[in-house]
């Protein structure tokens, strides 16, 4: 088999694998383990493009074999001193082969809670956000019970951190995984918030006070209720959920909170 034929075959094979994996991710709705759902339409277009490129590669291979062009091109390769063409072929495509191996042989999952040590907790509730949010959410002013769901997760926690005094005494229900800060040993219930892909995931959570005899395990999922109070930390007043009831639950299938852009 000549260099040119091998090159075409490798390209066609890689395109077939990429198109199939992408098709499977979209069909099985696994793609939202990696990216925001708004990308699905773009990824469907990408899959069609992969199939068209695969078709073009196959047609080119067929025609070049018919016209005996591979042999002519191999003569050109030799005249260009590409003696190590086989090694070149391998190193040219090794990144794609690596990607396919990672996609096929390592199972998909959600990000681990320990990754918060690299990403930080509540980074996006920074000074920038605090200055943007000038007033508490209206719909929480008159209510005594607040259920923090997927839809209001980011808004509610941002408001809690920006206006903790307005929430004192309110009953709050939250679901998320437990995170224990390795240095301060403070316990939080957190979720990963995604704006584009999970590489930009930021952890957003609420500090909790589960009492001295709590048996929360880092990374395990809990739903809990409690009363909001405040605590002073580094000249800042932060909200704390004093837990009145908690229940360990099974890790949900889709664990992320997706930021709505529209």
């Amino acid at each position: 088999m000549t260099y040119t034929v091998k090159d075409n075959c490798v390209k066609a094979l890689i395109l077939l694998c990429l198109a199939s994996i992408l098709f499977w991710l979209i069909m099985m709705n696994q793609v939202i383990l990696y990216v925001h759902p708004r990308f699905i339409i773009l990824l469907q277009i990408s899959d069609v493009l992969f199939f068209l490129m695969l078709l073009a590669q196959c047609m080119h291979l067929k025609n070049s074999l018919k016209q005996n062009i591979p042999l002519q091109e191999d003569v050109a390769i030799k005249s260009h001193n590409f003696g190590k063409a086989q090694y070149k072929l391998f190193f040219y495509y090794v990144t794609f082969i690596f990607t396919l191996a990672v996609a096929l042989f390592i199972p998909s999952t959600s990000l681990d809670s320990k990754l918060i040590e690299n990403k930080g907790l509540n980074n996006n509730i920074s000074d920038k956000f605090k200055s943007d949010i000038s007033a508490p959410l209206d719909n929480f002013q008159d209510t005594k019970f607040i259920k923090i769901s997927d839809k209001n997760y980011v808004d509610t926690i941002q408001n809690l951190y920006c206006h903790p005094a307005d929430y004192i005494g309110k009953n709050v229900e939250i679901t998320g995984f437990a995170y224990i800060d390795p240095t301060t040993k403070r316990v939080s219930i957190a979720r990963y918030v995604i704006s584009c892909c999970i590489a930009d995931a930021s952890a957003v959570g609420l500090s909790i006070d589960a009492g001295a005899e709590n048996n929360l395990v880092a990374g395990h999922w809990y739903e809990m209720q409690g009363i909001i109070s405040t605590v002073s930390y580094k000249k800042d007043i932060s909200p704390v959920l004093k837990v009145t009831w908690s229940n360990e639950i099974k890790k949900p299938l889709f664990t992320y909170i997706f930021v709505q852009t529209t």
């Binding site: 090159d7 390209k11 890689i14 395109l15 992408l22 793609v31 383990l33 990696y34 990216v35 990308f39 990824l43 277009i45 990408s46 493009l49 490129m53 695969l54 078709l55 073009a56 590669q57 047609m59 080119h60 025609n63 070049s64 016209q67 062009i69 091109e73 050109a76 390769i77 260009h80 590409f82 040219y92 495509y93 090794v94 990144t95 794609f96 690596f98 990607t99 990672v102 996609a103 390592i106 199972p107 998909s108 999952t109 990000l111 681990d112 990754l115 040590e117 690299n118 990403k119 930080g120 980074n123 996006n124 704006s195 584009c196 892909c197 999970i198 590489a199 930009d200 930021s202 852009t261």
Partner: protein, 302 residues
């Protein structure tokens, strides 16, 4: 260990999947221009006046949205066909950033038109001033061998050329064949960049990142160096930059997204192959200094 590997897979693939549509659209548009729009047409519309010539070259990316992976051979050909060096360099620096695809992908990655605008204006600032300085500093040819004609055999650009028939369907298959080859040419750098970015996310502790990221001077230099090393395509680098949004200053992210598409490892090697070494070193130095300066000016301006 196993959990770290799982995290690696998820972050690595998420960066790739996120960038995939933009890479593919970029290679499709690039292939369309390669197959259906001639360089002669571009040369014809370039004005004789230096100011207008550089201006037009800077904005040529709007209708000629080429990735930085493919600019060096085109710039070489443009100079050989009589386009002034400064205009060709302005096009090479600006086109990978000042084009609709990259502007849209920047908006998509950061979810902010403001960041996209700052990126584009900084790129324009760098490309225009760099081209102006080059016009004053280099009067003679900067090509290594100006008498070499534009030879383009079947293997000089690393891939075989289409043997598909010249029928209507054949032309479209040739179009997708070129797009496919360009995808493989650019894709490997995207994969390698995503790999490095994932390693950085998993290995660099948050506290260390915050220390570098909060230092206004070192964060910009660190991100410029990072952009040079990872050599990511301009339509995908915004997604990598966005993953650092919580740890690095806006100036450093702008510097990352401006410097990377202009100068990186892969196009430096192509530049050194095509242009004189003193010219390439001069170009890299002024682009570095202007990016550093421009990222501060533009970020604080908007």
């Amino acid at each position: 260990m196993w959990q770290s590997l799982l995290n690696f897979k998820m972050i690595f693939l998420s960066i790739l999947i996120d960038a995939l549509p933009f890479i593919l659209i970029s290679v499709i548009v690039s292939s369309f221009l390669h197959n259906f729009i001639s360089e002669k047409l571009i040369q014809k519309v370039l004005p004789k006046n230096k100011i207008y010539s550089i201006l037009l070259a800077c904005f040529l990316g709007v209708i000629f949205p080429i990735c930085d992976c493919g600019t060096v051979p085109i710039v070489k050909k443009l100079i050989q066909k009589g386009v002034p060096t400064y205009s060709a360099i302005a096009f090479m620096l600006a086109a990978p950033i000042m084009n609709p695809l990259v502007i849209f992908s920047t908006f998509y990655a950061f979810n902010s038109w403001e960041i996209a605008l700052v990126r584009v204006t900084t790129a324009f600032f760098v490309a225009y001033i760099a081209a102006w300085i080059i016009s004053k500093s280099f009067k003679k040819t900067v090509l290594k061998n100006e008498f070499i004609t534009s030879e383009h055999d079947s293997l000089c650009c690393g891939h075989t050329h289409s043997t598909l028939p010249t029928t209507f369907i054949g032309k479209w298959l040739a179009f997708f064949y070129d797009a496919s080859n360009e995808f493989f040419e650019m894709g490997r750098f995207l994969v390698f960049g995503s790999f490095l970015s994932t390693i950085a996310q998993l290995c660099i502790p948050h506290a260390t990142l915050l220390n570098i990221g909060h230092n206004p001077f070192f964060s910009v230099i660190a991100m410029i160096l990072f952009a040079f090393l990872i050599s990511v395509c301009s339509s995908a680098d915004a997604f990598i930059a966005a993953s650092f949004i919580s740890s690095f200053s806006t100036e450093s992210l702008i510097a990352f997204t401006v410097f990377g598409p202009m100068i990186d490892i892969k196009n430096t090697l192509m530049l050194l192959h095509t242009f004189r070494t003193n010219f390439v070193l001069f170009l890299i130095t002024i682009v570095f200094l202007l990016t550093f300066l421009g990222s501060y000016i533009m970020t604080n301006l908007f």
